[in-house]
Symmetry: C2
Amino acid sequence: MNVGIEKPLSNSQRAVRDLREMIFSGELSAGSDHLESELASQLNMSRTPVREAVLMLEGQGLLELRPRKGVRILPLSPSDMAEIYDVLTELESLAAQDAARANYTDADLSDLAQAIDDMDVAIADSDLDAWALADDNFHTELVRLGRNSRVIAIVNMMSDQVRRARASTLFIRPLPTKSNADHRLVYQSIRAGDAETARKTHREHRQHAKTILVDLLEKHRLRFL
Amino acid sequence: MNVGIEKPLSNSQRAVRDLREMIFSGELSAGSDHLESELASQLNMSRTPVREAVLMLEGQGLLELRPRKGVRILPLSPSDMAEIYDVLTELESLAAQDAARANYTDADLSDLAQAIDDMDVAIADSDLDAWALADDNFHTELVRLGRNSRVIAIVNMMSDQVRRARASTLFIRPLPTKSNADHRLVYQSIRAGDAETARKTHREHRQHAKTILVDLLEKHRLRFL
DNA sequence: GCGTTTATTTGCGTATGCATTAAATCATGC
DNA sequence: GCATGATTTAATGCATACGCAAATAAACGC
């Protein structure tokens, strides 16, 4: 176990962590520009590690480096969300299929099952934050079970981008009371080793989620997040 | 048109370009370690832009930064190749489907058709390099037609990694005489607007290519590329 | 000899300063 | 009044320097 000893994070690592946090929290809002030197002084370090962090986050698609204009926090349009959801749909479905083929024991799948149960509880409590957390856990765990490190990396990256939008989208959408039935079906297919059903079910689930979300964004005229 | 005027590339951009080239050409071989300062002097610049380039390439999965051990050019195992092919399969199939839905004109699809014709010629000539180039073009164009910028970015990234292995794999595999029939079928489905067939056909094509390649690597005991 | 400690080397992370160059501002002519 | 070119401003890209920590070598005790 990790016994409390925190390894001293390097400044550039701190910068990555803190900048991500600032982006997710909205402290750095989408579309806003920031000079390297400003960020550096906010984070109490020199430009060098900030620059390195910014370079990495640019690779993650969270921001954009525009020489002499500053660092721009990338906004997400509905069509960006559509793109992201399409990628997530394909790769998570692959993960579901691979997970089903892996002959996992119930113990291996316990985290997945737990996430589903947590979502049920959250829905019963109408606790949107808890639901969002459990939903994250479900998808993270599903992808982990697929055991494709590239898929895991890409899905995490895309999920990060979605996470930013969640603050705005979470409270305008209806409680996803039905969606957990899909989750359970995916879970059972994996458990049963039925790769085709796992894949197909998850795929349809994700496609449905996409249309719901995109329609919602359009309806609320949320052009950018 | 771009009339010959080349904008002066920044040093870190040059570093990215040159390091990539050195990796693809094998000048920096898979598994080898290199100090930042060595690379810097090879590229005639200071450590700073090299470091920035390395950071970006690390995000692309081409190398790994191991403090005090140097920059490690990442080797690709057969299971890495399997992972990559799985991702490519899913995302390219998505692109094929989306392309079919886009109602492209023959003119829009001319590059795709051209790539297929080029492959035919290359196969007739037994020109493996020409075939590889045309094959690249086909896949690049297919994904471009899918019009999902994230898919394009990810596929390019994964293709880069495959490209490194091609030098080793190209000459041990049989001439892909049959594969072009698949390409044509995908093309025709896109042209006909038959998204399901385009998707399914390309998917099967890619899965087939994966098993061929992975088997070949195993058979030749190519543990790392 | 061999394991342990201490010295030395060396590569990295970061700070800093400067030259470059794009943007912004201003001046000038039409 | 507007456009165009000159001038100023300022953010960046990069080189350089330095301290720290890790790796290696050397010295030492057993």
